[in-house]
Every structure is written in C-alpha cells, then in structure tokens.
Point group: C2
C-alpha cells in the first residue's frame, strides 16, 4: 500500500507504470485477461503493481460502462426489532458472500419515504430492489418496472412482483393452537382469548386473524369479534387497546395472541403497571425476541424463518420465476417452551 495519493489511481496510471495499455490493465483487473489472451507474466506484473499501489476500481465508471451497478437494494420499515434486523443482516451477509454490494434503506412504514428511497435506489441503478414490509408494494413494483428494474417483495405480498412471505395463516393457527392447548391443560375456559396488535388493512394481520379463527373453529369454539383487536403495531396503541378491552370485559383475557414484539412491549408494560402477574396469563407472540424469551420463558413465540426467506429471494434473483406474481410462503416455527412448563416466576 502506497502513501496517500492526491488523486485516486486509475487504470491509466497503472498502464503507464506497467508500460502497458489501459485496456490490458482493465482486463487483468476484472479477470477477463485469459479470454483476451494476456500473458500470465504481464497479468502478474499488473496485479502486483495494483496491489502495491493500492488501486481500487472506480465502481461508478464500471457501472456506467457495464450498465450494471453491482448493487442490490432493499427497503425496510425499521431496523429495531429482531425480525427486520435479521432480515437486513442476513441479506447483507448473503450479498457479501456473492461479492455484491447490498444497500438497505429504512423507511419508517411511511409511503412517501418508501417512494423516495425507491427513487434513490433506482437512480443508483440497483440491479434488483427488494421491498420489505412496504405499505404498498405494488406502487414500488410499478416504479421499478417503469425503470426496467426487477423487484421482489418480502414479508408483505404484492400483486405486481414475486413475493416471499411467512405462512401467516398457518403459523397463526399453530400459535393459537398452542395457546388453546395450554388453556386446556390448565383447565381454563377458552373464551376471551384476545388477538391484539397489527393493522386490519395489512395482509399479514388479516391472514393471522384467519388462522386465529380457524384454530378456534377446529375445536368447535367461536371467536367473538370483540376479541380481535388490530389496533396497529405501536406499543402505546396496544397498551391502550388492552386497557380498553379489560375495562369493557371487567377482567383480563384468558390468553393473548400478540401480533408483534412491538405490540408486546405495550402489553407487558400495561400488565406490569397494573400489577398483574405476567404468569397468570397465557401469551403468544407472532414474532421472536430472545430478550423477551429470557424475561418471560413461558411466552410462546413464533420465529419467522428469515434465512429461508432470504434464500428464496436469492433463488429468484438468480433465476426469475416463470410466474412474475408468484407468492411463496415460508413456515415460521414455534420457539421456546410451547407447553409452558414452569421455569421461574
């Protein structure tokens, strides 16, 4: 590595230093030198020189000429829960493994920011754009298709691009089953099982509600409409919604299906503040957080299978699906201690 350069080294500089030509240097550095019948000797010399001088190829120039940026883009609502942060981490790791550059932008569940971020990514000519949990994936998909760039949906499905999502309905059914099993085991009446959190207008929440209903139906139980409270995700909303529910019913629900860790935060806070014993109430959460699991080992959590979801995404990046609007569901799994053996109170 040489001392600081005033200007960055280019292939023209290297060509001069190596007494060769820019095209040869280029071929050597991007690995096409064999096809161009550059001698091994010259290639070595140029590579050594580049190494010694600390050359790094200008990706803007390469991208411009190749008309491929070498960048993969992803937009994401937030980083601050385990689900989305692991999506970002695994996505980046896989991209890095392939020598592609991944850029992730978080858009705060805000349609304007989503559009703005997508516009930026398209301006930088990302090769694919992954829309994760977009409020309206189809808007982004259309921007991409207008720009001639392929897009993929993750977490929330769209109708204009291939989507990988969790098997929300079946997952919710299983989680609900686990709750009902515990109620049975403890011989507690299975009415007043509360579904709380999420947005009624988003696909995942609707599917999870269906699964919740279905689990009840299969046992001949009915679900009361007032037991389904998609009060949005925010902790404060969940907290207020639980308070309202308890006021109306006059007592705690027998069990709760909490639709995300962020909602869980509000639920737990309300229970704590109200002096309720966390262990009196059977809880499941459609999401996973190891810190929550540590604090409440009897909490049933659904862990979405992020590695598989990302793997499917990359499959599609490698070979685009025949059906451009295909929707693939990946099963999440229950983690922890589903039967709720007592640990410590």
């Amino acid at each position: 590595m040489s001392i600081e350069q005033s200007r960055k080294l280019t292939i023209y500089d290297l060509a001069r230093l190596a007494k060769s030509s820019p095209s040869t240097v280029s071929a050597v550095l991007n690995g096409t030198w064999q096809q161009r019948r550059i001698s091994r000797k010259l290639a070595r010399r140029i590579l050594d020189l580049a190494e010694r001088e600390g050359y790094s190829t200008n990706m803007q120039a390469r991208a411009l000429r190749r008309d491929r940026s070498g960048i993969l883009g992803m937009i994401l609502p937030l980083y601050d829960n385990r689900y989305f942060s692991s999506i970002a981490q695994i996505f980046e790791a896989e991209a890095r493994r392939r020598g592609i550059f991944a850029i992730v932008s978080c858009t705060n569940r805000d349609p304007d920011q989503e559009r703005e971020a997508a516009r930026m990514m398209l301006a930088y000519r990302v090769e694919h754009l992954i829309c994760t949990g977009a409020t309206n994936p189809d808007v982004i998909a259309e921007m991409c298709s207008a720009a001639g760039i392929s897009s993929l949906n993750l977490d929330l499905p769209g109708t204009a691009a291939p989507s990988v999502i969790s098997a929300n309905r079946e997952g919710a059914r299983r989680l609900t089953d686990a709750l009902l099993d515990r109620l049975e085991a403890r011989k507690i009446d299975s009415t007043r099982v509360l579904f709380i959190g999420g947005r009624a207008e988003d696909h995942n929440t609707r599917e999870r509600i269906e699964g919740f209903r279905h689990a009840h139906e299969r046992r001949g139980l009915i679900t009361n409409p007032t037991d389904i409270v998609p009060c949005d995700y925010a902790a404060e909303k969940a907290q207020a919604a639980l308070e309202a529910y308890v006021d109306r019913e006059g007592r705690l629900p027998a069990a709760m299906f909490v639709n995300s860790t962020i909602s869980l935060e509000g639920i737990v806070r309300w229970l704590r503040l109200g002096g309720h014993n966390m262990n009196e109430i059977i809880m499941g959460c459609f999401d996973w957080d190891p810190l929550a699991a540590a604090f409440h080992p009897r909490l049933i959590m659904m862990r979405q299978d992020v590695p598989t979801m990302i793997a499917r995404l990359f499959d599609w990046i490698d070979t685009p699906p025949e059906d451009p609007t295909v929707r693939l569901e990946v099963m999440p799994e229950i983690v922890g201690n589903p039967m709720g053996n007592r640990v410590a109170e």
Copy 2:
C-alpha cells in the same frame, strides 16, 4: 410517467425530444440553469418533459463526472439491538433530510468484514465513511486516508480520525451510583456488586470499568477484582460468567452492572433458569431497550444519546474539525425508574 422503457431515458433523449442540447438539459435538471442563462421558458419545457417521461438521473454517470458519489457510508457491528439500530435509523433519516444517500453495512464485529465493507464503500467512492463500533477504527481510518476519503469514528474512538463517543466513564459512574443508592436505600451491604459483560480490550468497557470503580471509591468502597468480569458481550458468555461467579461466591451478587442488552439477555436467562427472583437483585444495564424496561420496570438503564451523537457527526461532515483526532463525548442518560419504586413484581 410513461410506459415502460426498454432502455432508460438519458439527457440525450430528452435533448432530442425538447429540440435542445444535452448540456442544456443537464443544466436544467441539475439546477444550474440560472447560472448558465437558460431561459425560464426552456427550463420549464425540459422539466415538464423529464417529469412526463419519468426521467431519472444516472447517478453513476454523475458521480463519475463530478468525482463525488453523493453517498455517505457507515459500517456498523450489528443491527439487532436498540442502540445500533437507532444509530442506523437516525443516520439514514438525517442523510435523507439532506438529500444525500446513506448506505449502512453491518460487519458482525469482524475485522475482516469491516475491512471488506470499507473497501467496498471506498470503491463506490463514498464521500465520508463513518466507522461505528469498529474493532480497530484506525485500520479503517488509514484505508480511508490512503484513498483520500474522510472518516469519522462513532461509538468506539480511534486515534486517526475524529471520534464521537458516549461519556462512558461518567455514565458508568452515574449508573453505578444509582445501583449503590438503591443498595443503601434497601440497607443492603454494598460489597459484591458485579460488573459483567463487554471486552477488556475495548475502550468503552475499560472506561466503564473505571467509572464503576470511581463510583465505589467516592463512597470509600473498594472494588474487588473478581467483581469485574468483562466476559465479552455475547449472551451465552455472560450467562456462563454469572454462573461461574455465583459458584465461586456461593451466592448471588447484591447488584449487577450489565454492560449491554445482549449480555443482559444471558443474565436474565440464567436467573430465570435458576429460579431466582428477578426483583431480589438490583440491576443496571449500560444500554437501553424498551422491551426490557417493560418486562423489568425496576431495571436501571443508561440510554446513549444517539440523536446528539449523530448530530455532532454531521457537524463534522459540514465543517471538519481543526483537530483531526478530536474526541467528543456525549453524555448518556438514565431512563426509567432510578430509585426503583416497586411497580409490579
């Protein structure tokens, strides 16, 4: 917005459509048209056309010519705790506010990945590189300076670039003070206060240990070396370290200073698994997580002041500090319920 184009529209296309020239179109689109004395009328026409046709500037071409990418880079150890995820979110939000594109790459506290990510960022010619929590910030700073790109350190300080960090020592002193106050209030003997988590070789942990010691000293208390256990951050490490500590001492510590939420996870898990009552033991955590706060309202948490830290960073991006190795400390604050009034058990 027009129908899908086979190839992206360029300023040459627009020039043809507007019966003008590429240089004029360029000037209009990048806002320099006034200086170039383009008539308002022509500018309007070109802008309308660009809008109608869905033109978007090819940032690679722009970056190549301008020799400025318009990108700000950040490397980050992880996304999956509240501290780092808020760093990423606030950094991106501020960049977006300024119309700059922020790209964040997470490197898993792995020096190789850090170097690799930095190399990528430099190849894409980021205008500044922010190194957050890098295992060795100086390595990255030197890569940057060799490439003629300015770098800044966040969270962990370096000696080769300006650094913004938390006031770890003073923050730790205050957190320790809060722990000792509670012990006093409960009339519990103040020996066997355990410092656990973090890496002895990293600056922040060393500083926090100093603060921990200092708080004791000021009360005339001594700190036993065996009460300081920088067993690394990982939950499993903390869990094992606590187990070893308790084995040796024959009982639980009277209070614990837990050096991060990730370590806290291990601590809490161990306590739960061992059937210990979480409330018997006074705990502080040098980090903040609202879910943990919900589960354990009496846990004392230090919240690092990320918005201020990021703001200082951008100050330096705007006007580089005179002293290129300046180190700025931002005070974190205790959140929650420092005096530990009982809420719910």
